[in-house]
């Protein structure tokens, strides 16, 4: 199964990039792939270039050395990622000493408290255990734990999914400020377009293992180039929503994805060519690209290829 299939994505220094898509589209796999944290049995090809080095080819030992001071990860469930038997101070000591063995205890404490403070955790609670903190506090601690080593890139996989809406807003505000406060680049993986709009500079939309559109957040929201992006935007329910909308059908099985464009069975704009040939990436200006035959190239579309695709109707219940 190709969970992530031929994906290209750049993340600049101090940039906040949103990676969006439905569940099962491969966005979490991509996030972990970047950090070399794929499960056993997974095979990765291609390049993940970080500071000129290809992380995919790096021996595990060297990759581990980068994990922390260079590459950080924040997971979805703050409740389960801290060790219940260790104090918050122990978590920080372990993390810092793993990478800087000669650090003095005073220095460990100073650096930990400073990072925790910026995340809104008071110094008086440094020696408490994880269960003494609320969900939002634990996620703040997790983020602080990733940031205390000052990584260049932080991958945050649905970091607010299990949190309440007000706490989610608080955490998003912290993440959006990372570049200012820590100079850290952030890859924010989420299914919620509202979060992308709020926190990100650039975004990539993933569908069935491929990035189908990428660009600056404002441009993509104002004028989505890929029909999937457009439909995803329309189906997001917010306070401004005036009409309920959903995308018919469900994402394909990645063991046997549809031929041509993987979205064509659900696409309202599908043309004949879409079911025959894989779309070719098109550049639509600075930092903006899309994989969709609607944007050409004309020369590669066969005769009659632009006629609407005739399909069987999608059943009401064939959905995600």
């Amino acid at each position: 199964m190709r969970a992530v299939d031929g994906v290209t994505l750049d993340i600049g220094e101090s940039e906040v990039v949103g990676l969006v898509g439905e569940s099962g589209c491969g966005k979490s796999t991509l996030g972990r792939g970047i950090l070399g944290l794929l499960p056993l049995g997974a095979r990765a090809d291609g390049e993940v270039l970080y500071g000129g080095r290809n992380l995919v080819m790096l021996p595990p030992k060297e990759l581990r050395r980068l994990a922390g001071p260079d590459l950080g990860l924040v997971f979805q469930e703050p409740m389960t990622r801290l060790n219940p038997l260790l104090r918050i101070s122990d978590h920080f000591r372990e993390t810092l000493k793993q990478h800087e063995a000669n650090l003095s205890d005073a220095e460990v404490k100073r650096r930990s408290l400073e990072t925790l403070g910026r995340m809104g955790i008071p110094p008086t609670r440094f020696n408490q255990y994880p269960h003494e903190f609320s969900g939002g506090m634990r996620q703040r601690i997790m983020i602080a734990l990733a940031l205390v080593l000052r990584p260049k890139l932080l991958v945050a996989d649905e970091p607010t999914t299990s949190l309440d809406v007000i706490v989610e807003g608080q955490i998003l505000a912290l993440l959006a400020d990372l570049k200012r406060n820590f100079g850290t680049a952030l890859l924010l993986i989420t299914h919620n377009l509202g979060i992308v709009a709020e926190a990100c500079d650039r975004m990539a939309v993933m569908y069935a293992g491929k990035i189908v559109e990428e660009g600056p957040v404002r441009e993509v929201f104002a004028e989505p180039a890929h029909p999937y992006t457009r439909e995803l935007l329309r189906s997001t329910i917010s306070l401004e929503t005036t009409e309920l909308h959903s995308i018919p059908g469900s994402p394909p099985n990645l063991i046997d994805p549809p031929p041509g464009c993987r979205f064509h069975p659900r696409c309202p704009d599908a043309m004949r060519v879409c079911s025959l040939l894989e779309p070719i990436e098109q550049r639509l200006g600075e930092g903006r690209r899309v994989q969709c035959w609607l944007h050409g190239p004309q020369a590669r579309i066969p005769a009659d290829g632009e006629l609407p695709l005739e399909r069987e109707a999608i059943g009401v219940a064939d959905e995600a």
């Binding site: 309440d164 809406v165 007000i166």
Partner: protein, 440 residues
Amino acid sequence: MRPEVAEPAAGPQTDEEPLVSIRNLETYYSIRGNFADRLVGREAGVVRAVDGVSLDIRRGEVLGLVGESGSGKTTLGRTLLGLVRATGGSVEFEGREITGLRERRFRDLRRRMQVVFQDPHASLNPAMTIAQAVGHPLQIHGLVHDHAELRARVAEILETVGLAPAEAYLDKYPGDLSGGQKQRAVIARALILSPVLLVADEPVSMLDMSVRAKILELMLALKQDFELTYLYITHDLATARFFCDRIAIMYLGRIVEIGPAEAIYADPKHPYTQALLKAIPEPDPAKAVARDLPRGEVPDAASPPLGCPFHPRCPRAFEPCGWESRDLHDLLEMRWAGLAGDPRVEQEQRIVGDLAALDRPSSEVRFSPPRGRQPQEVVSLLERVRAEDPEEPFWRGVERLEAAGTHLALVFHEPREPRLEPVGDSEVACHLYDESAASG
């Protein structure tokens, strides 16, 4: 897509008897303490999950029950369904008192009231086929005579919820279905007994954005077809907007605002309702402005704040809202978090000493500084803190701060609990709308 609302939803002015009438409902959980406590039968305390809630659910309406985790919204739904026992108050369903009913009697009632839970993956037994699972209620209640009838009834309801053709789903296992399909099966199972009331506890929050709308539309259509009444429990005011005729906002076991949906969205009164609305991320980068969200999180329900439970987080809190010792604890901690790395933090900690003395809820604090420190030092420190951020609502609650002999006396204005009072088309529990509190 909003359903036609038969009547304006404000105030209990209709003659028709409500389907559900809840009065002063209390559902308390006792906290089990340590082993020794349990041995002698001592309770470590109670959590007031539902703390004196009164509301009606009218026939044919969708009532939204909205709040964060720990607000008691789910416990209220469970108490209504008899899945949790009420510890006080009354719930009348179709004019009949149902608190304290025995489980056997409740089982008959459950043909009339059904539930859809949040997680469709956990709501279906993975070892039962869809036909078995959806038909199970009919068997439990002895409503079918043979296997063929059971299958026919299940097939009919599956088609109704959009799982068509039913033959394609009858013999599948939950593992073969997508999240949206599973939730449709769960809804089918709830409807197969033709209930009048459906409690839907976060029915779409586990689903992908692309299918949420479809499930909401299905539920609205089913409401018309089956003449259902819904209690829609959610944390999400955005989906509630499409769904609800009236909305009740819960915070720490109490209703803080209730009214017609239009009024709640157009003119939210309670600062908590305002905060919940402000917190919803808007998928429009052009509108993404810095949001001033309430600080902190929902406090521990085992020892809720004095006065209004929302006051520690409320940007508009003032004198009567219930300021107390623990608010000073939080104020100092948040100050020190903000000053992290600054040497002042340690200096100030030495002056104040152990904050644990502030953890007993009280609106009068007598506080002894650590040995070798003068109470006047603490007073000066607090006055300095106040001068640095005079807008901090905490200071509005302070009536007196002075050194008195060997200790420090900090007296807050007397806390008052806000009650639900009519404000415009809604009812709101907030001192901002309470004339006597605002003028006093």
